[in-house]
């Protein structure tokens, strides 16, 4: 029984730009470093350039400017055939006229393996994704989840330097998504592969990634670990894109060292200055970091109260508008019209520039 090894390599983008036609800039001068053996997610709304970036790593698109290095090899001009990169497509792209085993051994046949060795490796690959014995079936005879696993096996058996996933969960139903994303993460960690993952679902990104690259309008908005991005977004866009965020106007009164004193809704609070100076600013707070049963805080009035099974969702009216908060106490709920004191949990709000 052969073993599937890891050939994981790092990926480096140096000032890479991709322009379609004369003036459609899909990727604008990005610099990116993906360490070997890590799972990095490219996250962003439609049209932000994440799929184009992925396809440039694969070699399906050629960069207009800049350099791309995989390992220590400059692959900028290499076509997909010659790169050591495998890709799992969104539509799986399984060859309908070949059996599952033929699909999985397809790439091996072009890599110089003998027929029997290709066969062995293909069988190992199928085993790894939990599809032992499915070799003789046709893709049309498999469920969506099984088809995807065949696509993963087909990519894995080539022991690529980088493994790419293009929105792999979008064609699966909700229940299957959690299970499959955990399996992908498990395989990646077990084999120590470098994986670049594209998705627009931020919960998925937070769940599987070592690092997330948030992209917007052909550029990178922020790079960081899931926690960093969630708790310390660098801009309104990132704050709003990852999870829900309440964006409240506030006034920075003074700064002492790294700590700022702000007035928000008439309530004074201290938090990390985040490099800003006195004056108007925006405070970003996650709904789960607002304490609806606080003793210290500012006034708010309950406008909506919704039960969603595992928690309560409240819409609260404050001076500057409406705030969205959640609380896990589903038994002692707040009533509509109730006046409460709204406070912050310890690790909560983040300061952002005013604009």
């Amino acid at each position: 029984m052969v073993k599937i090894n890891s050939n994981a390599a790092p990926v480096l983008f140096q000032s890479v730009t991709k322009v379609y036609g004369k003036d459609v800039v899909a990727v604008d001068d990005i610099n990116l470093e993906i360490k070997a053996g890590k799972l990095v997610t490219l996250l962003g709304p439609s049209g932000c350039g994440k799929t184009t970036t992925l396809r440039m790593i694969a070699g399906l698109e050629m960069a207009t400017q800049g350099k791309i290095l995989i390992g220590d090899r400059d692959v900028t001009q290499l076509p997909a055939t010659d790169r050591d990169v495998s890709m799992v497509f969104q539509s799986y792209a399984l060859f309908p006229h070949m059996s599952v085993l033929e699909n999985v051994s397809y790439g091996l046949n072009f890599s110089g393996f003998s027929k029997s060795e290709a066969f062995d490796r293909a069988v190992t690959g199928l085993d790894l994704v939990g599809l032992k014995g499915y070799g003789d079936r046709l893709p049309s005879e498999l469920s969506g989840g099984q088809q995807q696993r065949v696509a993963v096996a087909r990519a894995l058996v080539l022991e690529p330097q980088v493994l790419l996933f293009d929105e792999p969960l979008s064609n699966l139903d909700a229940k299957l998504r959690r299970q499959v994303r955990e399996e992908i993460r498990e395989i990646q960690q077990k084999l120590g592969l470098t994986v670049v993952y594209v998705t627009h679902d931020q919960e998925e990104a937070l769940a599987v990634s070592d690092q997330i690259v948030v992209m917007r309008n052909a550029a990178i908005a922020q790079i960081g670990s899931p926690r960093d991005l969630y708790d310390a977004p660098a801009s309104r866009f990132v704050a709003d894109f990852i999870g829900e965020a309440n964006l409240l106007p506030c006034m920075i009164d003074n700064i002492s060292g790294a700590v700022a004193e702000v007035t928000i809704e008439g309530y004074r609070h201290r938090l990390d200055a985040n490099g800003l100076s006195t004056g108007p600013a925006t405070m970003a707070v996650r709904p789960s970091r607002l304490d609806v049963k606080a003793t210290e805080g500012f006034k708010a009035k309950v406008v909506k109260s919704t039960y969603v099974g595992n928690r309560m969702e409240y819409t609260l009216a404050v001076q500057s508008g409406e705030i969205f908060a959640v609380h896990e106490d589903v038994d002692n709920t707040l009533a509509i019209g109730q006046e409460i004191t709204l406070g912050f949990f310890e690790k909560g709000p983040v300061l952002l520039p005013a604009a």
């Binding site: 694969a58 399906l60 495998s86 539509s91 792209a93 060859f95 309908p96």
Partner: protein, 735 residues
Amino acid sequence: MDKNFAKKKTHPVLIFWIIVGWVSYLVVPWYGVEDGFFRFEWLFDGYPFDPDYAPAAFLLVQGKKLWLAPLILPLLASFLVLRLRKSDPAYGIILILVGAIGFSWLIVQGFSIGIRGFNFNWLTALFGDLGDRQFGMGYGALLLASSFLFLFTQGIAARGAVNGDVFVVSAIGGVILVVTAFVFFPIAKMLVAAFITEEGMYSIDVFASKFFDDRIWGLGCLGGMRCGVAWNSLFLGIVVGIVTTALGLIFALIVTRSGFRYKRWLRALTVLPIITPPFVIGLALILLLGRSGAVTVFFADLFDVQPTRWFYGLPGLIIAQTLAFTPIAFLVMIGVVEGVSPSMEEAAQTLRADKWQTFRTVSLPLMRPGLANAFLLGFIESMADFGNPLVLGGNFNVLSTDIFFAIVGAQYDQGRAAVLAMVLLFFTLSAFFAQRVWLGNKSYTTVTGKGDSGVHPAMPKRLSFPVFAIAAIWGGFTVVVYLMIVFGSFVELWGVDNSLTFTHYITAFKVSYNEFGIQWIGSAWDSFWTTIYIATVAAPLTAIVGLITAYLLTRQTFAGKNAFEFGTMLSFAIPGTVIGVSYILAFNVPPIEITGTGIILVVSFIFRNMPVGVRAGIASMSQLDKSLDESSLTLGANSWQTFRKVILPLLRPAILAALVYSFVRAMTAISAVIFLVSAEYNMATSYIIGRVENNDYGLAIAYSTTLIFVMLAAVGLLQILVGKTKIRRRINIGS
């Protein structure tokens, strides 16, 4: 709203058809008017008592044609329903009986009593000699038949068919009736004719002897002699199918998988077979490669040999048909090549396959069903081709021309023509079946929406060189042939006197003015105007029948829909020769006696070209979301109003396309037309063939060239009109 409908006591549609029924019985001439109904001369020529023009009622009053009397009973019975509510069961039952009995009696008497009294000997034996006779049915009978049909369909609708939708049921009934009357009935009559002996009896022996004739199935060519005509046609069809598919694939690859800069011109090639009368290519090739052809003579002089007739027969036919049908294969293959999912090819590339390996192991296998489809199309077209074999078949007999000679020549052997038609039908229907049943569902082209944002890779180098080379040669050849067509029309006498002249055009199209106005002196004007006239009449009717059928197929579900669809698309697989022969066998005698008139030409065009309208309609209507219909219905409109106010306006491009293509196909038809023309109604294509048979090539080519330009103008007009519609309105379909 429906509840009120059912309770209403006034039924405007019902009243309309009852009135039509009575008017057709009392006022409209029952039998066909010889000089043409729409000249209305009959009004002043003894109407309403002259038995040639009398309505049914007047005939009865004079004691003539008493077998028409029973028809008055259902007509009277129809009054009974006027006071009933639609929801009353008696309403539906009475209408069904009225319609069924009336219609059946009409048909029965039509087939039983003909020119010589009773048509069947056992009737004469039963009732004695009739002493009277009847001719073919006219507008009176036609309107009464329609009235009974639509009363019947309203009755079925009232009993609950298709949710009580009168429009849909009537449309289905109408289409079934016309397709049965003008497609199935003639074909059946022709097939039966294969069994008739000279005495008029039916015999299986006669059929067997004609069917298994050596002239059809002989294998003599394996030993140096000639082969049976069936094998000839089959062989030709297979060869042409293969070659056109290969060429079509080559051109499709250039258009979709290369950086070729003049792709638009290539796509324009697909227009060519639409505007070219089928035999024109054969004519142009004769000018190039025939015995006096430019190329033949050139090479003969070069090698100092005698020019031969090498071109006539199988070689010439293969070349001519390939030239004619490659654009069709091209059109099909473009769709097939583009339909291969790009992400499959990209996946193959990321799996270390290079471009050639990707093409060989992924792209080509995925195109297999499409290739088979294109092959079958080429096969059917070759089988049905009549013009080219007629012009340059030489000694190589094919089924379509043999059918023609069996009827038109000194033979006049109906039985043999019917048997040949049967064999030809067998081949084309088998191919048609194979296409629909076997390939219809097998598609490897994926239809995913979002996931396929990939780009088609360019052709591998190993492929692109031969592809471009072959395409260049073949494309160049096609251009030369078409140039020949234009050039040849200006040559005085090809091969003898190569001076350029306008003589042929003048002979054909001379116009002069005198004190009486415009005089159309040229010899071609008669057939030209007839053709334009007939094509103009046929086109809207074709479009209507086609679009209604398309509507029924895409928008409605009803019992027997699959059979309905199969029946309506069947006429595509029936070669024109077969239609022509079956029409003259079926419609030369009462009850439907229309040979020699313009009507038979119009009818043959409608049913030959119906699939064009149906396809255009299906393609466009599939793009209109069903929710448009549904919202219209929930807002209170019925099916007819929905069709008229919502669907039809959105279908303008499809309607225009159907109109223009029906018109153009009517102008280029030859295989059916050649049987159906008469002294009064001569069509351009048959006139041209006549000129060719008299070796008047100059005139024939001049006329053909003119036709091509007329049709180019028609298609060009369509492009402009459709383009305008697109600019003027931005249609938000269904969103």
